[in-house]
Symmetry: C2
């Protein structure tokens, strides 16, 4: 063997199982992922790796399952500071007496920076490498995200109502676009326009949103058809269901992410499928807020791109995408009384490649393939909670909990390893959380 | 302060929060649980404990929530060895082509001992202190349980069909009663008769079961109304729904545990409530096998005693009662589109005192009260995944995962502490699991 043919690379991950997501349903045993700089440059039999590559960072993960990094396609990260503040309340009480007054009293740039930072820490520990964000003060979220090492698509939040952050729809749009200028050089951050919901945005504002989205090539990230009530209200006001109204306005497109989409009729499904829009399924949040049970099986039958979101910690209460994967499969089976639908493979796709597709990033992330960025999560299954193991993909979805996450790489950099974060000080995060806890408790 | 008034005790647990379950909805802050021998003898303000008690075992759990030990009221522990062997299959394929052939080929006394031991290890790590068991070779399960230190109610399994274990209903009954003689001196083990299901047991056998249950004062633990199909079949064969048939036979009583009970009409609910029977809700299993969504809210409105079970690892795939608590609340809210029903307090009761009541053990366990046995679970919330915290009970159900379990006491003995089991060798358990994995993989 000629040494001259050896290539020195940034890192090699040798592992028991790789679930690369593409090709579909593939599982590789005793293979290695070769990373150079930000990219995956090879995936080969571990027996052959030492003959071809040298590295200072060779990870030996022989009790592990390795997957593409998980993609959380809907959250309000800063709401981690409200985690568990107001549970088991009716939606009306929750919004009017808890969340909105809390936000009015407490939400500032500091709140958003602090809350987003601790949410990033939680997401990293949960195997999430990319998230899709929607909240006030996006520039403060961007600061925390940039520090964390996570990849994110940040929403430029818009609604008609005033808040601490902005006065009216135009003000939200202007502030959002200014904020975006601040992170345009960040390689791991992309942007969307994030109108709150059809019932909080006028047709006139939707027209402006569409203009900006088209000019700047931004995705649109919005809550849609979360409750039955919002559909009734729309029919009263516009004589149209919200999705019909959005479609007439030209909002629904491959760049559109319909978050929740719990209540869809056949016509809604056809519209979303025809326009190649994505649905962001948030099962925990939909259940916890009593919104209902989204019919993912029907979406699959319409070949819709369905991805998964945790929603914010005020309505979940954890940023645990592995749990959402499990719930997505379980609820679909229970709802349709058919245990063979929405299998573990479907859930793994929803949490990875489908999320990448919704964000327009599927050429770069969402699967473990040569040429893609090295966004990778490793799960340690050497525990009595997870043995024996017969099928790694099924194990991921039905048997593992997020405490099995052992390593997380983003863009080729190791950001989490067995309890330690590379770019965030966990002790400082806990102090931040406790400081806000003390303040907010005065309100209870 | 006179030293002569000081009492020396086995252990003191001083903790941030105690959720004692009784009195209802109570939360104690900065209190201590005083344990002597097997019992809780005092619960007092931590500031006062040192003036009254001395001990060699003083646990300082100041970032912790402490609850009664969790009670898993339905499992087939040994099926841990089949965890993830056959997922995403139709119920017919799962039973006929996977589970039943597997059981015929592999289930022996050794299999049951090994599988039960690893399930006990998993349950201890998950904060479970008592479980309600149903499987073949109960004497082998009893050996593993006795070794583990867990409290259990072991079912004397009965059906008409032959298996490796027994030839017919009489044979199952005789073997079960003989097995029971073997564990009658075990202080932590009680017994039930566990007929498989109405559709696998004749009226004649039910009469014998009832006689034994009455004579020996045993609970009856059975799968009931799990699928819509079994109800239709019963109507065809007996012109009665299974619960009506069981009621006519005198089986339904305060000693009866109706496992699953997914499909109940108003008449079934009235019957179960009138007879003061218990329902064992197994949400993960019901969803995963496509059985459907049990209506816990309707059961609550009928004042039924509802408790929680994980079912076996072949249909879940984890023995994680904290997860079942969360699912029970979430699914009820989603199903009824009402976020205020089946709140965190209800789920905590289902997983503790209601389980104790179903097993006839509520005078001894199921709450943290003076005079009860010290079956106690502690959860560490000092993690960025679980901060901030405003309401410990809500946090338990919605924010914590089982990896937060830090300590487990059963009958006054510390059986689990931060990764280490007192009575089971975890390394040996992993070897056992891997040995069976190798054997069973030959079958795939």
């Amino acid at each position: 063997m000629a040494h001259s043919t050896m290539q020195n690379v940034s890192a090699i991950i040798s592992t028991k199982w790789i679930c690369p997501v593409r090709p579909l349903n593939h599982v590789l045993e005793d293979h290695s992922i070769v990373i150079d700089d930000h990219q995956i440059i090879d995936i080969i039999d571990t027996k052959k790796v030492d003959a071809l590559y040298t590295t200072n960072q060779h990870y030996q993960l022989h009790h592990h399952i390795v997957t593409p990094g998980l993609i959380n396609t809907h959250t309000h990260a800063a709401m981690n500071l409200f985690r568990g503040y107001a549970d088991d309340q009716s939606l009306h009480t929750w919004l009017n007496e808890s969340i909105w007054p809390l936000e009015k009293k407490w939400v500032t740039p500091d709140f958003v920076y602090d809350g987003t930072l601790i949410a990033c820490a939680e997401m990293l520990k949960s195997g999430i490498t990319t998230f899709n964000e929607m909240y006030f003060y996006p520039q403060s979220a961007a600061q925390a995200i940039s520090q964390s090492g996570l990849r994110a698509n940040i929403g430029l939040f818009v609604m008609e109502h005033p808040s601490n952050y902005a006065n009216d729809a135009d003000d939200y749009l202007i502030k959002g676009l200014e904020a975006r200028d601040g992170w345009r050089d960040e390689k791991l951050i992309t942007s969307s326009i994030a109108p709150h919901a059809p019932y909080t945005i006028s047709n006139k504002t939707f027209e402006k949103i569409l203009t900006y989205a088209n000019q700047l090539n931004l995705t649109i990230h919005m809550h849609v058809h979360e409750t039955a009530a919002e559909i009734e209200e729309s029919i009263k006001e516009y004589q149209l269901r919200p999705i019909e109204r959005l479609n007439q306005l030209g909002i629904i497109s491959p760049q559109f992410m319909a978050v929740h989409a719990v209540h869809l009729n056949e016509h809604d499904l056809i519209t979303l499928a025809k326009e190649s829009a994505s649905v962001v399924h948030c099962p925990s949040s939909n259940l916890k807020l009593g919104s209902g049970l989204a019919n993912i099986d029907a979406m699959h039958q319409h070949h819709l791109n369905v991805c998964l979101g945790t929603d914010g910690s005020a309505s979940n209460n954890k940023l645990d995408l592995l749990h959402e994967m499990q719930l997505a499969s379980l609820i679909a089976k229970g709802l349709m009384q058919n245990p063979s639908i929405i299998d573990a493979r479907n859930s793994l796709e929803m949490a990875t490649i489908n999320g990448a597709k919704a964000l327009g990033l599927d050429d770069n992330i969402g699967s473990i393939e040569i040429g893609k960025f090295a966004d990778i999560t490793a799960f340690n299954i050497d525990s009595i909670n997870t043995l024996p193991i017969y099928d790694p993909i099924s194990h991921l979805v039905y048997a593992l909990s997020r405490d099995a996450v052992s390593h997380v790489w983003i863009n080729g950099a190791l950001q989490y390893q067995e309890g330690f974060l590379q770019s965030i000080d966990l002790k400082e995060c806990k102090d931040i959380a406790l400081r806000w806890q003390l303040k907010l408790k005065q309100n209870i």
